[in-house]
Symmetry: C2
Subunit: 355 residues, 2 copies
């Protein structure tokens, strides 16, 4: 009701949104004064009486500041770019919502772009974002070998990496504690009696792929198991299809294994697709652990055991970091590691008895 009334009123001023000058005129003050009265940071520079009159006029007119004009003047857009690989990957919507839960109350909006893991596309989209004068960037597409991000950083663009990070460097990031996660997964499997465990890693040019792969080798060796290189394979992408392809390759190698630590849940889902054609029952013949605890894992066949990461919280944390960077560009920002936990469902069990 309020909104519609406001809109009505705005028609009274020659058919357009009322401007600051309309407000000032109605309040009988100068536009500059109205601006000060309406700016919470410097409202104490105006007299109580003026404040009252300006606020009254603004309310009567349904005045809404024009963010475009404000941006042009202040060179800030109150907008941040959000660069993700693909919104249809269920990992990302919770992250996005977490980010927005912090951005929105702070008066910021997120401009979301999908890159489909295409570098040229990413470069182009980020360029477009920059031209829109975004105040900062949250990036979920970092790879270890990409000079683009470092270039942007050196250029003075504020940014925070989420989910994946870049190679060593100053750019702050919020990523899962990949090492603890993978350790939990391997501990769980060895606890069930598995001794021949395979790893379907994500792309090794991503920090998550590399870190999880390294953590896997360490965990295996910490348990005194033989680290068989032929039981580790790199998926071409963080996708169901790539997971399926990798497992198929692994099975063809004819090295026996009874469990799989998948690089993430989608790769685990790809494994599911192969089980039928390979005549394997999960978890009776083979166990699988995923990573991320994306939605709907509960309803899979079988429900997927996985490593949980608080994705919503991670998004929120990244947004907080970015806002801090925008407020105080000088202060260096920490990188944060999100804790992990093991969610045991039905895709893991003791290995089959046969030797």
């Amino acid at each position: 009701l309020g909104a519609s009334r406001q809109a009505k009123e705005s028609w009274l001023i020659n058919g357009k949104q009322p401007t600051l000058r309309d407000v000032a005129q109605r309040a009988g003050v100068h536009a500059g004064t109205a601006s000060r009265a309406l700016n919470p940071l410097i409202r104490d520079q105006v007299s109580a009486e003026t404040m009252r009159r300006v606020e009254r006029a603004a309310r009567d007119l349904g005045y809404q500041p024009n963010p475009i004009a404000r941006s042009l003047r202040t060179a800030r857009s109150n907008t941040v770019g959000l660069v993700i690989p693909d919104l249809t990957n269920p990992l990302f919507p919770p992250i996005v919502r977490g980010i927005e839960s912090v951005l929105e109350p702070a008066g910021f909006s997120a401009l979301i772009v999908n890159t489909d893991n295409d570098r040229d596309r990413e470069r182009a989209r980020i360029g477009s974002l920059r031209s829109r004068q975004i105040d900062g960037l949250i990036i979920a597409t970092a790879t270890l070998d990409d000079p683009l991000l470092t270039g942007l950083w050196d250029d003075g663009l504020r940014m925070v990496l989420i989910n994946r990070r870049a190679a060593e460097g100053p750019i702050p990031s919020v990523v899962p504690d990949d090492e603890s996660g993978i350790t939990r997964a391997v501990d769980h499997l060895t606890g069930l009696g598995h001794t021949r465990i395979a790893h379907l890693s994500g792309p090794l040019n991503t920090s998550t792929g590399a870190a999880r792969s390294r953590a896997f080798r360490h965990a295996i060796s910490d348990h005194g198991l033989a680290g068989l290189p032929e039981l580790v394979i790199e998926c071409a992408a963080w996708s169901q299809a790539a997971g399926a392809a990798a497992l198929r390759t692994l099975l063809a190698r004819d090295t026996r294994f009874t469990a799989v630590v998948a690089g993430n849940d989608l790769i685990a889902l790809g494994c599911y697709d192969i089980f039928a054609e390979a005549g394997l029952r999960c978890p009776a013949d083979i166990s699988v652990v995923g990573f991320n605890d994306m939605p709907f894992l509960d309803n899979l066949n079988p429900p997927l055991t996985t490593i949980r990461v608080a994705n919503h919280d991670a998004g929120a944390e990244a947004a907080r970091l970015l806002l801090a960077a925008i407020e105080a560009p000088a202060r260096p920002l920490p990188s944060v590691l999100m804790p992990t936990s093991l969610v045991i469902r039905a895709s893991t069990a003791s290995p089959p008895q046969s030797g």
Copy 2:
């Protein structure tokens, strides 16, 4: 490489992005001329030689027009608002991507907001969108009884509804052909031999809830079956939890049925959650059909038979309609019905033999 070189060059101009005046100066012309040369619509107003010089200068400087300044001048933002209930509902990411696939090549960006089905929130978010001078709105949250949208429409805001539509009115929409979809579902079930079919409808204050519910009754009666009111129940939301609650209520009624037509896939998923506690096997004891064919249905237990809608295409179509409305505000826009198809998976089978 190109972008980073551009960024470098831009530093040459006193550490900021180069402006049109920088370009003009370098090309030895005035800003107005440079503006014309760079505007595809009126580029023929400048001489070939000037064109060449301006383009050259723009390229050398890595000039990117400032969309904020442009918007302030033209009163257009090249941004559209996208209002959805919840990005973590897997139905929406494909729609969003479809929308962006059309918007982006046209030079538009989408500003996404989540409403969580909260009306006050929706009103507030749309207000914020308006203040950001969006050129139009794509709305996936319409209900049949909400005066807000009509108000905005009458206010002159261009918009297109997607997925759900408002009550009769002039607002263009892109929605699934709910009637054909439900008819396919019921045909499929009766073809399998089911005669006692329940319907878990979505909220009846949404066009999809109401249309699917009506279509269900018609289809049942078209097959000469008894339309038992106690076999139809309205879910409180389009969610897994609401679907579970509704099925539990239905089972408590003690009216026998062998199949469920769910209002959408999430409601169907909610049914899955009840089967175990109710001692029902799907599809042996009970069949379920969903609606939308959201992602990952293939990996459920059992894989869900559903009604497919081309969600990506629907998004693209909605975006096309909106762009048309923005280009030519006067021309009335059509509403489009997206075709449906039946995807048979493993959640449907012949009813159990017992009478």
